[in-house]
Amino acid sequence: MRDTLLQGLRPPLTETAPGADDPELAALAATVKEAADRTLGRSLAIRHVDAGSCNACELEIHALNNAFYDIERFGFRFVASPRHADVLLVTGPVTLNMREALERTYAATPAPKWVVACGACAADGGVFAGSYAVMNGVAGVVPVDLVIPGCPPSPAALMKGLLALMRGAKR
């Protein structure tokens, strides 16, 4: 039984790394500060902040850790505290009820830091734009370095976006 179970996890499940062939993502990543290379080396610590998503984005972020995407092999790590983070991965349109929590999480993250807006809601409010209860996107609350579109973004899109961010940060 033990062998069967371990066998199930061996390659070839793992997807090959996506290339940085998307000019849009590359351009976005280029805006990231150059100083990061020296500071960060080859790893990025990500703190996820749900600022009012419908929870679909969370499901796909979770998928990044499964055996198919296994994002830790690229040096990405999800961390429990903003104090340990280089990147805030923010989902949701930023509800007014979460606004202060997001601001305080950003303030608690040491510089240099990057903010990735994950999904259509984080980009501009998505289907919830215009509501009395939301901010219409992350950029209205904290500075955004990269937007990964999609409702929700697929794990492949998330991986591509995060790799572009790191390559940009390494430049």
Binding site: M1, H48, D50, A56, L59, A101, V127
Partner: protein, 483 residues
């Protein structure tokens, strides 16, 4: 049979029937100038009661039947009604952060400064508080948990939710059916298919329309794919919260394969926007059925091994057996649906007890357990996966030919409701359409409304370190309740 009643006597009577255990709360919500209540009678029939709020007030149902409390507080926040005699007058969804009060009522201005919130206290020697959230340590939705603990033992847990409130009810008002369906599908993303089905069925009920047989079957396939995807994810995640990562790794593979099968069959991993009023928006792809059947075969080959691994790992069982016990009586009083209710002996499943197509023509078991602990909630999920795999196979086997979408009457006022079994329990949808065919009021009640309060009870006396385990075994939706 559906009874629709109106008036104070009926209102109190319904509250008393629930308090006496002769009826179960389905939902309580506000509408223009009135409060509305839906209860499930002992014989399974639904009864609707309207209570006019002529002077902006209504007699509290929570005063008679506590499970109604959070729904009542939410309705008061949105409409500005006063619940007379309510046991808990604190605001629920409204944290004081909006530029207005009562967004569905008088929309009076507010400075957005944020309200103080008086948490319930527990006093005694050595008791201390542990505030957790709204930003948690994992990849998880935001909510605040206030623990009172004596050493490691939890004396009281109080939840404060509402952080994800996006104003869905207000966005629904005046929305076209197309936009409203998209919103309904984003109330709780993990249940997007179930929500879209519930909304579509409520609209079809309001308009007297019927989706074609093929659409019903495809909706069923989507709903069951969604159920097994979430159950795989939950079983793995619960074990992971007991530091048994191997189960998460394997269940994660099954979950990913399920989402990939959904993507090839219906074009979207979570099947968002695939169900629309009148039918479904996408037909199953030519190779879709084969892909799904391959998934069913793989799940049948590997899942039993994982179940054996779970069952034979003493260190894991040590964490789940006897942990977070939800008493059967509480589950019944609250009318807790889904896995949470069924693991505590509440034998209810909307697919069987309020049958709707395609389930009305299918036979399947509704697994229940009596223990009410984390272990029982895992086993109910395990058994449900087996039932769903069979259902998927049967539905694909006898997939009817024909159109996938029926034209809806262009205009028409009306009201409709639906009760649809999502993976975490019954989703109740009630839709009131205006003359021009737009949505006048749409109320969507997630199963979590009646499960979250029970987590507070189940966790009492457990150690703080077991909270993630208990919380994950309930897996309440934050977004689904915050709306």
């Amino acid at each position: 049979m559906i009874l629709i009643l109106s008036g104070e006597a009926e209102w109190f009577e319904a509250g008393r029937r629930m308090a006496a255990g002769n009826a179960t709360l389905v939902s309580l919500w506000g509408d223009e100038g009135r409060m509305r209540l839906c209860v499930r009678e002992a014989d399974g029939a639904l009864a609707f009661v309207d209570m006019p709020c002529d002077r902006g007030a209504f007699p509290s149902i929570a005063a008679l039947h506590p499970p109604a409390s959070r729904l009542e507080r939410a309705a008061c926040d949105l409409y500005g009604y006063l619940a007379l005699g309510a046991p808990d007058g604190r605001r629920w969804l409204d944290h004081g952060r909006w530029p207005l009060r009562h967004p569905l009522g008088d929309r009076s201005g507010h400075d957005g400064a944020g309200d103080a919130y008086a948490f319930l206290e527990a006093r005694g020697p050595g008791l201390h508080q542990i505030p957790v959230g709204p930003v948690h340590a994992g990849i998880i939705e935001p909510g605040h948990f206030r623990f009172h603990a004596g050493g490691e033992a939890i004396v009281r847990l109080e939840e404060r939710l509402g952080y994800k409130h996006k104003g869905v009810d207000a966005l629904m008002r005046g929305a076209t059916l197309e936009r409203a369906a998209a919103l309904a599908g984003r109330v709780s993303g993990d249940s997007t298919a179930a929500y879209a089905i519930a909304f579509a069925r409520a609209v079809e009920g309001a308009l007297g329309a019927e989706a074609p047989p093929r659409a019903h079957a495809l909706r069923g396939v989507m709903a069951e794919l969604e159920r097994i995807a979430n159950h795989f994810g939950d079983i793995g995640a619960i074990c992971n919260d007991a530091a048994f990562a191997l189960m998460l790794a394997h269940c994660g593979i099954l979950r990913e394969r399920t989402l990939r099968a959904a993507k090839s069959a219906f074009g979207h991993r979570l099947m968002m926007d695939a169900v629309v009023p009148g039918g479904v928006a996408v037909d199953i792809a030519p190779e879709g059925a084969a892909g799904i059947l391959a998934l069913v075969a793989e799940a049948r080959a590997t899942f039993p091994k994982l179940v054996r691994l779970y069952d034979n790992t003493a260190s894991l069982q040590d964490r789940t057996v006897g942990t977070g016990v939800l008493k059967a009586e509480l589950a019944r009083t609250f009318g807790a649906g889904g896995v949470v209710g069924r693991a505590s002996g509440r034998d209810f499943d909307a697919r069987r007890d309020h049958p709707y197509p395609p389930y009305d023509a299918l036979s399947f078991k509704v697994p229940t357990r009596k223990a009410g602990d984390v272990n029982a909630r895992i086993w109910v999920r395990i058994a449900e996966v087996g039932e769903s795999l069979e259902l998927i196979e049967k539905m694909l086997e006898r997939l009817p030919e024909g159109p996938i979408r029926a034209a809806l009457p262009a205009k028409g006022a009306g009201e409709g409701w639906a009760l649809v079994e999502a993976f975490r329990g019954d989703v109740f949808a009630h839709v009131r359409l205006a003359d021009d065919g737009a949505v006048a009021r749409c109320h969507l009640r997630d199963a979590s409304w009646l499960q979250w309060p029970l987590l507070e009870a189940a966790i009492e006396g457990n150690i703080v370190a077991d909270f993630p385990l208990c919380n994950k075994s309930f897996n309440g939706s934050y977004s689904g309740c915050d709306l």
